[in-house]
């Protein structure tokens, strides 16, 4: 006889943790930081709060390589009664509604807790207060993997005298700090590029990082919406039907989906061969499958709305790239919204040039999805392919070049290549938009480079003439016995007339076009 048993979800994830990015003690430490930072950013900027995040990694037991990770934010907090589920129940999330978040699976925190308890057997410590709450709640929680439910080890309440709001989390886990250090630094810096409105302070055993807030401008908060009819699957529809007691098919469509009015719904149902007045709950399983199929095929839907998305925008990308990469110039493009399979998405691209970017044979690629920096699995990412296939020589870029490319995809559903959320899968619509975004940004770079070339040319022309002025003035003055300084002055005036600009202007332009590092050299040279 066979014996059947259901593997509890939490247990399944504990056994298959590499799927979520917890492969080993190095990846796990990095992934822990990531999950906590992304939750904190979701809890702040999405609600119009300028994020301030404090992070600390400390060695707890060197022999066992136990480290603690502490993360604190100034976000909207978690209601006291929700804290146990949020930390102790897999697939418990507030982010299933249709809008752009960093978090998607309702899994991140639980993986952190599961990994921590399976390596150190220590609970997670949570302290949180919601906006205007007069209490601060503190919990110590572990997860009962078989029941997929929280075990509360300790619970406290404190008066919230100073109306603090936010969330602080501390976990102790087996982690390889030295192995993860570089990745964590990269991750935080790249986060600061795409979120220059965040203040991030990091303290590690031998690394302190203070990524200051560079602007107080936040990207527009995403609106919340209903799914697009093309984007749902059979299970989702079943879930929706549970709440649609008594609705007709027509009502079901107009109530539950985005941009589906009566006209659109009727036209669709007629086209698909369904009776608009039939009870929605009366659909047979076969009919249900056919309905979903037809919904995906139908071409008459309106395009998915893009106000659920929160692109960063050219201005913020520029601030971030200049501050963190030390680029001399940044050109950013935000494409118009597009969609794939009913999911809206926007591609943003920026090219950063010069300054402290070290020249290399290939552009440095910074990938982002919903403002999350993607660090691993670059080879599997469609962005890498797009950047590699790009014809840089058409845009005045000759390698080695000091060039970095930022590609950001935001969507209500990022097509990740895996649950580790590290690479974007090859989706034709997204690939195409990436190409166009990169092209638009590279065009601006080309314009800049040719302007720079021209300014440089003019400056070099100036030097060609000016370097002889003193010699010529001296000789003419000996021949004619006239004042040398007047001859020299006039020669300079003649040069300016010829170039159609003054030397001061020329120097100003040329300086504005040379990178910061070169400028330093120049001022040094001038001081000598």
């Amino acid at each position: 006889m066979y014996s059947y048993e259901a593997l509890p979800v939490a247990e399944w994830f504990r056994r298959n943790r590499e799927l979520a990015g917890f492969h080993n003690s190095t990846r796990a430490l990095y992934q822990t930081i990531r999950e906590l930072v992304e939750n904190s950013l979701d809890a702040t900027e999405t609600y119009g709060i300028l994020p301030t995040i404090f992070l600390r990694v400390a060695v707890e037991d060197e022999q066992k390589s136990w480290v603690s990770v502490y993360a604190e934010d100034n976000g909207i907090g978690i209601p006291g009664n929700e804290i146990p589920n949020v930390f102790g129940r897999v697939f418990y999330s507030s982010k299933y509604r249709i809008k752009q978040h960093r978090g998607v699976f309702g899994l991140g925190l639980k993986m952190v807790v599961l990994y921590a308890q399976s390596t150190t057997n220590k609970p997670v410590l949570v302290r949180s207060a919601t906006l205007k709450s007069d209490k601060i709640y503190e919990y110590q929680i572990m997860i009962d993997t078989n029941a997929n439910s929280p075990i509360i080890l300790d619970r406290r309440e404190y008066p919230n005298k100073y109306r603090w709001h936010g969330t602080a989390v501390k976990v102790v886990l087996e982690g390889n700090w030295l192995g993860a250090k570089k990745r964590i630094e990269d991750y935080l810096r790249r986060t600061a590029i795409i979120a220059p409105y965040a203040e991030i302070v990091f303290k590690g055993p031998d690394m302190d990082l203070w990524l200051k807030r560079r602007t107080t401008k936040l990207p527009p908060a995403p609106k919340e919406g209903l799914p697009h009819p093309k984007s749902v699957d059979v299970d989702t529809i079943k879930q929706m039907l549970l709440d649609s007691r008594g609705m007709t098919l027509l009502e079901f469509l107009t109530e539950n989906f985005d941009a589906v009015g009566e006209g659109t719904a009727k036209a669709f149902l007629e086209w698909a061969g369904f009776n608009p007045n039939a009870k929605a709950t009366a659909l047979t399983p076969e009919e249900l499958v056919r309905l979903v199929e037809k919904m995906k095929q139908y071409e008459g839907w309106r395009r998915p709305r893009a106000d659920w998305l929160s692109p960063v925008g050219g201005e913020l990308l520029e601030i971030g790239a200049k501050a963190i990469l030390g680029a001399e110039a940044v050109f950013a493009v935000t494409r118009k919204p597009e969609s794939y399979g009913g999911h809206p998405f926007i591609v943003e691209a920026a090219v950063a040039w010069g300054g402290q970017i070290p020249p290399s044979d290939k552009p440095l690629l910074l990938r982002y999805a919903n403002k999350i920096p993607l660090l691993y699995d670059e080879g599997a990412d469609v962005a890498r392919k797009v950047v590699d296939e790009f014809h840089w020589d058409n845009y005045k870029v000759k390698f080695p070049a000091p060039l970095a490319v930022i590609i950001h995809v935001c969507s209500t559903k990022i097509p990740y290549a895996s649950a580790g959320k590290e690479a974007i899968a090859e989706v034709a619509e997204i690939e195409k938009e990436m190409r166009l975004a990169l092209r638009d940004a590279a065009k601006k770079l080309r314009l800049y480079l040719s302007r720079k070339e021209k300014e440089m040319e003019l400056f070099n022309k100036y030097i060609t003439f000016a370097k002889y002025v003193d010699e010529i003035a001296h000789n003419l003055s000996v021949i004619t016995r006239l004042e040398k300084s007047i001859i020299a002055q006039n020669l300079h005036k003649l040069i300016e007339k010829k170039l159609g600009t003054t030397v001061d202007e020329l120097v100003k332009h040329t300086l504005s076009l040379t990178s910061a590092s070169q400028q330093e050299e120049v001022t040094e040279a001038m001081a000598q």
Partner: protein
């Protein structure tokens, strides 16, 4: 003849006009007759090269001309100063006097270094530019060049009061001075002048007493002739009606050297009237000589690509467009073979003498 101070005035005036433009905030421009092939005119009647009417404009504010402009002004100052101080520099002196490194610090603080000139060719070229632009010859400026010319033969000259008999130099020779116009010719009893391209052949002919047997004046300028040597030969021809014969290697370079003695050069066409000897005749070696004098293959050299290119250039020069010359050059181009004067030893060392006598007596020369 004008004095050196009048020439000085002309040079200063030229410099002043450039300065005046600068003071009036106009771009200073030098107008210089072009010393190019296209501006070299073949004066068929006078049988010499003359400078055409083309002028080039050397502008300070021209990327390609700025450096030359600076060099020209620098050289003008060096020459003006030399005349003011009453010294007589050589062109090499001027080269060294003017050579220094210009250091320019641009407004970004970067230093640019550049030599006023690197090679003497550059400083020589601007001297010639100043000559044509101001119409003051280098000799008139009191600027001299190395004189390579030397002579041996029945001629007596006076230099700074000393009489020098060129027939009494034994195995050595009388070196020509810088300013041959200041050389007084006291007595000439020669039948003709023989110009030899190569010093080695000149020395052989001196040692073998060819000149006394022939009663000829031997001259060499060791390759491409300098101005003083050309001027001296011109005087011998013009003032004493001596026939002038030229002996060079049998290749396009030798032939061009002959044409410089006879008609003048492209670079110095403005000086032809002083320097050229239109009556000069070419003895050899010619391309025809190889067969005519049965020169052994051991002495015959294959022409290089450069030789061929040079020959094709000669064919295009109007002053070579004479049937005798086109025949020779085309033969050369066909056979691609050349010979040196030394090849005449093919029939023994004395054969050189027989060859010269045969050519001169039987008028087997090219005019």
């Amino acid at each position: 003849m004008s004095s050196r101070s009048e020439f000085l005035e002309r040079l200063e005036k030229w410099g002043y006009n450039l300065t005046k433009a600068v003071l009036e905030l106009e771009e200073p421009v030098m107008e210089i007759p072009a010393r190019t092939l296209s501006n070299t005119i073949w004066d068929e009647k006078a049988k010499m090269l003359k400078l055409g009417p083309e002028k080039m404009h050397r502008r300070f504010l021209d990327m390609k001309e700025a450096r030359r402009f600076m060099q020209t002004v620098l050289m003008l100052r060096l020459i003006v100063e030399a005349i003011r101080e009453d010294v007589y520099p050589t062109i090499r002196d001027l080269y060294y006097n003017g050579k220094h490194t210009i250091v320019f610090k641009d407004p970004l603080g970067r230093a640019h270094r550049e030599n006023t000139w690197d090679e003497q060719d550059e400083s020589n070229a601007v001297i010639e530019d100043i000559e044509v632009a101001t119409n003051v010859l280098r000799e008139e400026m009191g600027v001299s060049a190395d004189v390579k010319g030397k002579i041996v033969g029945p001629i007596v000259v006076r230099s700074q009061g000393y009489e020098l008999d060129a027939s009494k130099f034994g195995e050595t020779a009388l070196s020509l001075p810088v300013n041959v116009d200041a050389l007084e010719i006291v007595k000439v009893e020669a039948a003709y002048v023989l110009v030899v391209e190569k010093d080695a052949i000149f020395q052989r002919l001196v040692r073998e007493k060819f000149w006394s047997q022939e009663n000829a004046i031997l001259v060499t300028a060791k390759g491409m002739p300098d101005r003083a040597t050309r001027r001296f030969i011109r005087r011998l021809n013009e003032e004493y009606k001596l026939p002038v014969y030229v002996l060079t290697d049998g290749d396009p370079y030798g032939w061009y050297i002959y044409s410089v003695y006879k008609s003048g050069s492209i670079k110095l066409s403005y000086e032809s009237e002083r320097l050229a000897t239109p009556e000069a005749k070419f003895l050899g070696l010619t391309a025809t000589d190889i067969d005519a004098y049965k020169i052994s293959d051991n002495y015959v050299i294959a022409a290089t690509d450069r030789d061929v290119k040079r020959a094709q250039e000669l064919l295009r020069y109007p002053w070579f467009q004479k049937s005798e010359w086109t025949k020779e050059i085309n033969l050369f181009l066909k056979k691609k073979k050349k010979v040196e004067i030394e090849a005449l030893s093919t029939h023994g060392l004395k054969f050189l003498h027989d060859y010269l006598r045969d050519k001169i007596r039987n008028k087997k020369f090219i005019d």
